[in-house]
């Protein structure tokens, strides 16, 4: 086992909201050709049939104020370009503008779905992606919205759900937090504050309040060397007054929340670990997005192992059942640790030897690392790849790793 894994005591996952890989990191390919981003020639037809190319003109706020559709039928349109379900249809990633325009955005505004950020505009994400490991092939678990995708990060399945509805756990599958605690390990979900609260299965909050903490508790746990073995961090989901009369901005990067505030939140989380030497050397931080939020990505989501559930046609809204046998659209995912060599790129579908990741890899990896042989993992978890593989034997010197001044 590499020294990076031998010394690993903590895994921290920060899950942001609703941005695709190309939108956030696609512009990096010009400087870092191993990153499977954008050439600039990728395009989609608009409602007039005019081909519209990707543009490096993404704005921090005010551009996607009409929340782009990312429900199951909308994502189906984005992936298959409007070809209805049936044998032989081919995914082509040609329906993004059609999908956005169908929300009544108008022709010109619908082109914004093809926008991406120039790397200089996202200094934090760019720095982390180029200084540590970026995954070319990390996909959301379902071509659908937030709640069912986040469920994969907690349970390794969404129990057959493809929508935003609250679901009740009826199977014997435990969340990763319950598994850890039951086995005598430590795990916590840190939500930002009470006003923002949690997106993570209200049932857990109701029945297992001990596995929750606030973000200020996360900072205190980093400072006090009391961080659990596994931590899952939620950003702030809404703008609201602060406890001292100030203003708390949403930091989730969900359109139309300010993307720069999300950058600051990622930087703060990184700093909390980075500036404590012992913690820094024993922690792996994964920054990942729950789903693409309806925003363009050029990589076709691959088929995957079905998890044994099926969503009926009435639930998918496409006129066809879904057997959980195709992943959702690609999202940014970055692994941070001083044991990760600078500029690591984990190849994805563009490489015959590439590796596919999805959110079931989170409980899958955490379970394998801390609990070893745990039989009750879901099918997707059992088939998932370990996201800690970029950790090596070599510890980078302290003055080789950046700190953010937030």
């Amino acid at each position: 086992m590499p020294a990076g894994l031998d010394n690993l005591k903590h895994i921290v996952v920060l899950m942001m909201e609703n941005r695709s890989f190309d939108h956030m990191l696609g512009g990096l390919m010009k400087t870092y050709p191993k990153i499977n981003g954008l050439t600039g020639n990728e395009s989609n037809p608009d409602m007039n049939g005019t081909m519209v190319a990707v543009q490096p003109n993404a704005k921090f706020q005010g551009q996607l104020d009409h929340d782009p559709d990312h429900h199951f039928p909308g994502v189906d349109l984005q992936i298959f370009g409007g070809t209805p379900p049936g044998a032989g249809r081919v995914p082509n990633m040609q329906g993004f503008i059609k999908s956005y325009a169908s929300q009544g955005t108008g022709i010109n505004a619908s082109h914004a779905i093809m926008s991406y950020f120039p790397p200089k505009n996202l200094p934090v994400l760019t720095k982390l992606a180029t200084e540590y490991a970026v995954f070319n092939g990390w996909f959301s678990s379902i071509p659908g919205p937030t709640i069912c995708n986040r469920a994969f990060a907690h349970y390794g399945t969404s129990f057959g759900n493809v929508d935003m509805n609250l679901f009740y756990i009826q199977d014997s599958i435990l969340s990763i937090y319950e598994r850890m605690v039951k086995a005598g390990h430590t795990a916590k979900i840190y939500y930002y504050d009470q006003q923002s609260s949690t997106m993570e299965i209200v049932n857990l909050l109701k029945n297992q309040p001990q596995i929750f903490g606030s973000y200020s508790q996360f900072i205190a746990d980093c400072n006090g060397n009391t961080l659990p073995e596994y931590s899952f961090i939620e950003p702030c989901y809404n703008d609201h007054p602060g406890p001292g009369g100030g203003e708390v901005l949403a930091s989730d990067q969900h359109p139309d929340h300010n993307v720069q505030e999300g950058e600051r939140f990622i930087a703060n989380t990184y700093n909390a670990i980075r500036t404590k030497q012992e913690l820094w050397e024993t922690t792996a931080l994964l920054v990942v997005y729950d789903e693409h939020g309806g925003i363009y990505d050029h990589v076709v989501p691959p088929p995957c192992q079905s998890d044994g559930y099926s969503a009926p046609a009435a639930k998918t809204g496409t006129g066809s059942a879904f057997n959980f046998d195709r992943l959702g659209i690609r999202v940014p995912a970055i692994l941070v640790s001083p044991y990760v060599p600078r500029g690591t790129v984990v190849p994805g579908t563009e490489d015959p030897n590439g590796v596919i990741f999805e959110h079931a890899c989170i409980p899958g990896t955490v379970t394998s690392f801390f609990l070893k042989n745990y039989d009750q993992r879901t099918v997707r978890e059992k088939n998932s790849r370990n996201f800690l593989t970029p950790l090596t034997d070599t510890l980078r010197p302290d003055d080789d790793c950046w700190v953010f001044d937030v």
Binding site: Q194, L205, P209, N238, D239, P243, E261, W402
Partner: protein
């Protein structure tokens, strides 16, 4: 920070205009509220009234409801009100200053003596 670390990067702040708690809630927050409402229903005691969540339109209104429900389910997550804490400190400081000023005349009296 610059003196302690060799590689430091400044992170830009969003403009003040980025804040808007009057923004209409997204479907994500709408669903988050629905989930909490389901829990609220299950916890309802005789005589208690359910919150009219359909009236929640803005992020500020959402944050107030979420705070109420989260405080109920997870009271440990409460933030300490910073302003109140500061006031307490100020009051203590004022008391300390008053006490000091009360003590000061004594030596001067002694000197007079």
């Amino acid at each position: 920070m610059k003196t302690k670390y060799k590689l430091v990067m400044k992170v830009p702040k969003p403009p003040k205009s980025a804040y808007d708690h009057g923004r209409f809630i997204s479907q994500l927050i709408e669903n988050q509220i629905k989930h909490f409402h389901e829990v609220e229903k299950s916890l309802l005691k005789p005589g208690q009234k359910l919150t009219h969540v359909s009236k929640i339109k803005t992020e500020l209104e959402a944050s107030k409801y979420l705070k109420k429900m989260t405080a109920l389910l997870h009271p440990h997550g409460a933030e300490k009100p910073q302003k109140a804490a500061k006031r307490r400190t100020i009051k203590k400081n004022v008391k300390a200053r008053k006490a000091k000023s009360r003590k000061k005349p004594k030596p001067s009296k002694r000197r007079r003596k």
